[in-house]
């Protein structure tokens, strides 16, 4: 049976490309490995974090994990924020899709819904300047941001950050922030003009979280359990969209299949898969192929299919630093238990504004989280004091403790690339990744971080230390097959079509020519929706 389009992957890109194709009247076959959490989800009661901590005798099972997988004995690692109920998201990926690198730690997903099962839900539209290298304008992308916003449900404030992130017309009221963030925002507002003149802006982050009922989901229940469970289904997960599409009848979902390669023929594309349990090879036929497997996995499929093993393609990834801070205004103050665990506040530092346009660096983005629901024991090794005293100090500091995550933009350089390993076996999936920042990039990061932390100090947040968890830790991967106005070789056209092919379209982060210092997921979804819409018209 030949489908109009085969979509590979069920993450943010795959789910939204498939939705656009189906809304455009096409039939879709979605191929996915589709790992799910069969162990912990049912154990977690729909109650608040504090309530669970005080009452649930089975909490150790999901807080620590049956195999203590939630207790890390090593140093900081990529994906360390994943709790046992979320570890399935990346669980089998390294087995099926190995990455060889001594400079980059990759996190990939073979789960139903992909990395979208564990994302921070930040929805940040790209502006004209950030889209300058795209063959697509903000005006062309705008309707797709709106469509995706209506599909996934977005809550956002209209504040100082609207100019940087945009605010969809369909936005719901913003989430309430916690006591800790309230004190920081209050200080920001009292110093706003001076801070804005220096290029610093702050507000509530737009989030893919329903604050009013939406498509059978939400509203958010403020249980502070967002790192552990989705019991109110208020935070958007791509699997909600996949569920809707499957119920609609025009999407056939086939799981346990790892896509190995594609081969084009006169009538379309043949896609070869391997069953991850039995190892059986199977081929599926489609008129067009939509690759949404995630930047690194899509690179494997493309390079293997085109016989380009050993060839380097560029790789982008937001350099990331996190900084534990103490908010002095919260010392000795009680905080409300009614809260969410996602980013409480966002901040943008725009060097160009600070220097009257002399500084050409792109903006840097920071998010402020309150550290409450990830358990105290995780922090104690970082305190470098005895456990007994460390525990007592952390209990006092906890209401005042925050984590600032700082994202930097990323551009192509010769020292950031990946390549399929030249292997003896035709199915070897090892991807070699090399990622190094230039001295100039490191110096710029350092300079901007010091500036941002100076602003946070003015808001009462005192940094304890800067932690760089290593390259790859932002899990924002992109740029392997960038879109071009005049595509050739291993680049894509504006409709996501890979230049070397007739009917293979890329819709994940692979096609981004540049990575601004923003979470990229919302733009991946909007771009996937755009390409899905164009493809549906072409296939018609």
């Amino acid at each position: 049976m030949t489908h109009d389009a085969i979509v590979v992957g069920s993450g943010p890109a795959g789910a939204n490309a498939a939705a656009a194709l189906i809304e455009g009247g096409r039939s879709v076959l979605m191929l996915d490995v589709g790992d799910v959490d069969a162990r912990y989800e049912a154990l977690i009661p729909p109650a608040s974090f504090r309530e669970i901590r005080q009452t649930d005798p089975a909490q150790h099972r999901y807080l620590l994990g049956d195999d203590f997988e939630g207790v890390s004995f090593g140093g900081v690692r990529v994906g360390a924020q994943l709790t046992p109920p979320r570890l399935y998201v990346t669980g089998s990926a390294s087995h099926h899709m190995p990455v060889a690198s001594d400079t980059f730690a990759a996190a990939e997903s073979l789960a139903l819904g992909g990395l979208g099962n564990a994302w921070g839900a930040g929805v940040f539209g790209f502006d004209e300047r950030e889209l300058a290298e795209w063959p697509v304008t903000r005006a062309e992308l705008e309707p797709h941001y709106e469509t995706v916003a209506r599909r996934i449900g977005i809550s956002a404030d209209d504040d100082d950050l609207t100019a940087f992130f945009g605010r969809p017309a369909a936005a719901m009221p913003p989430l309430d922030i916690d006591t800790n963030a309230e004190t920081v925002l209050r200080r920001y507002r009292s110093r706003r003009e001076a801070l804005n003149r220096q290029g610093f802006f702050m507000g509530r982050p737009p989030l893919a979280v329903c604050t009013t009922p939406h498509r059978g989901r939400g509203p958010h229940a403020y249980r502070d359990m967002d790192f552990w469970a989705d019991s109110d289904r208020s935070v958007y997960r791509p699997r909600w969209t996949v569920d809707e599409l499957r119920r609609g009848g025009r999407c056939r979902y086939v799981d346990r299949r790892l896509v190995l390669r594609f081969d084009e023929h006169a009538d379309g594309v043949a896609v070869t898969t391997r069953h991850v349990d039995s190892g059986d090879l199977e081929t599926f036929q489609g008129r067009a192929l939509v690759l949404a497997a995630g930047t690194l996995s899509t690179a494997r499929i493309v390079l293997r299919s085109l016989g380009r093993a050993g060839e380097r393609v560029p790789l982008l990834c937001n350099p990331y630093t996190y900084v534990p801070v103490v908010n002095w205004a919260m010392l000795g103050r009680a905080s409300r238990d009614r809260r969410h665990s996602l980013a409480q506040l966002s901040a943008v530092y725009h060097p160009g504004i600070a220097t009257g346009g002399h500084e050409t660096d792109m903006p840097v983005q920071a998010q402020l989280y309150s550290y409450r629901s990830l358990l105290t024991f995780r922090l104690l090794p970082e305190t470098r004091v005895a456990y007994r005293e460390g525990l007592r100090m952390m209990r006092l500091l906890m209401p005042a403790l925050g984590i600032i995550g700082i994202n930097h933009d990323d551009r192509r350089t010769p020292s950031k690339y990946c390549a399929m390993r030249q292997a003896a076996s035709a199915v070897d999936s090892t991807l070699e990744v090399h990622y190094e920042l230039t001295d100039a990039e490191r110096a710029r990061m350092d300079r901007h971080e010091r500036t941002i932390l100076r602003f946070f100090r003015q808001l009462g947040c005192w940094p304890i230390k800067r932690v760089r968890p290593g390259h790859g830790s932002s899990i924002h991967y992109a740029g392997t097959f960038p879109m071009r106005r005049e595509p050739s070789g291993l680049t894509c056209a504006a409709d996501g079509r890979l230049a070397a092919t007739r009917a293979v379209h890329l819709v994940d982060g692979s096609t981004f020519p540049y990575l601004p210092a923003k979470g990229l997921t919302f733009t991946i979804m909007a771009n996937a929706n755009r390409i899905g819409t164009l493809l549906a018209q072409r296939l018609g």
């Binding site: 195999d67 207790v71 000795g332 005895a386 456990y387 209990r395 209401p399």
Partner: protein, 147 residues
Amino acid sequence: MPPDHAGIAPAVDARLTREARVMTRYLLDRECPPEMLDRYARGTRRPDADRSRDGGDALADFAFAHPWSLPCLDAAAAVLPSGAVLRGKLHLMTAILEAAPTFATDFLPRHASRAGTLLQLAFHGAMAVAKALIGLPLLLAVTWRRR
């Protein structure tokens, strides 16, 4: 089947039982419930959890044989890499205690006035430094003696 009772030998290893009891008293001034002794024993089976299993660890062995020394050795081990095994055991036990309703109030945020908070932070900080100062020569002596 609840994992606490899955594949656990009826008699939990005596060494691990002693360790769990000593650490619970040290951390919380409380007694360790039996189910958490089991849980600790299971936790140490994780390959990266108890690096002392095969060859033993001089510092951890000494600390659990002489519980009076644990506060100072822990404080010293916090700043020296040679205390990694002892700190790893404390890390595991702290995690187990935190994920139990019995001890929830010992871990959830504690409210005090600002002055009270600052005073308590200063007190605990000073205690940690003092213990580390006593613990450092003890740690060096214990590890040197075993070489």
